[in-house]
Symmetry: C2
Subunit: 185 residues, 2 copies
């Protein structure tokens, strides 16, 4: 989708490390777990970026106590925190998106109508699944204690996803029920 101007992987790292030391593997796991619906990060980005950040002095390795398997745990340095704060002050770059499904909708006259229905139907199912996961996450959050005082912010992010996915499911429903479409437009 869209495309990024500046390197944001590093701020994901610095942001997560602001809550405590983590290894590359944990950063990746956390990102999948908490950010999956609005952010993705691959090892091929993560590990080289960790090396760069360390070279620049924005993060530092933490000695892992005792035995166990090899883990390279990092913490944020004061310079890293400063860099994160500076980034948080900067305006959000306007995002560009690339929705393959809309390209297919747009050109669907060239193909078969059933194919379009199938694509939209798959899109709806996929989005619905994601929506239910977010709903579950929100429900479990609201019952749980909030030791780090971050639930408010997590909820804001979740709500963005909920609203977005609801809109998309609604659109897919509209596309898949021509009667409703005629009535609407």
């Amino acid at each position: 989708m869209a495309r990024t101007r500046s390197n944001k992987t590093r701020f994901l790292i610095l942001g997560l490390l602001s809550e405590g030391p983590l290894s590359g593997y944990e950063i990746r796991r956390l990102t999948q777990l908490r950010f999956r619906f609005f952010w993705s990060e691959s090892y091929g980005q993560l590990y080289p970026e960790l090396a760069r950040l360390e070279a620049e002095g924005l993060i530092a390795p933490v000695k892992t106590p005792g035995g166990g398997r090899q883990r390279n745990v990092y913490r944020s340095t004061p310079a890293g925190t400063r860099a994160l704060k500076a980034w948080l002050k900067q305006s959000v770059e306007p995002e560009t998106h690339r929705f393959e499904i809309l390209l297919k909708v747009y050109f669907s006259a060239v193909g078969d109508a059933e194919d379009l229905q199938r694509h939209v139907s798959e899109f709806r199912d996929r989005t619905r699944g994601a929506l239910q996961q977010l709903e579950g996450a929100k429900a479990s959050l609201q019952g749980a204690p909030d030791p780090h005082h971050n639930h408010d912010r997590v909820l804001l992010a979740l709500d963005f996803g909920l609203r977005t996915y609801q809109a998309w499911v609604g659109w897919a429903d509209q596309v898949l029920t021509p009667a409703a479409r005629k009535g609407r437009s």
Copy 2:
């Protein structure tokens, strides 16, 4: 955003050429005009891709009649139409998104609250502007004749954008009015 697995620029080109011959410049202009809210394409992608498509025999140059400035106009070939149809049959690849604003929301505890308000406010203004443009486009479409019988599909794409942007503006409003947020959740 996200990231794309296969080359979709070529199908944008083949799709647009399915409606008639165009030059690279016109493809770019049309993309900006009609697809801006869900697709972006730069010259650095477009021109090399046109050369590749021609080399593969999926598009062919059209002789431009008489004088005037230099324009390389292309048309789709039968092989190009076949390639487009084959792509239209393929399932949409699940999209991955990267919303910088959510990253900033998530880590906003490290920074100032006013900065977050500013970011969300800018996001709302930007999204609202795009929303109004889409509304205008929809209105002008509904009054106009439909010689190419493509208004239905255009409307579907527009509605996707309308619903999405409405959801985002709603979210931004929620973030910016804490009272409403308390009442809602």
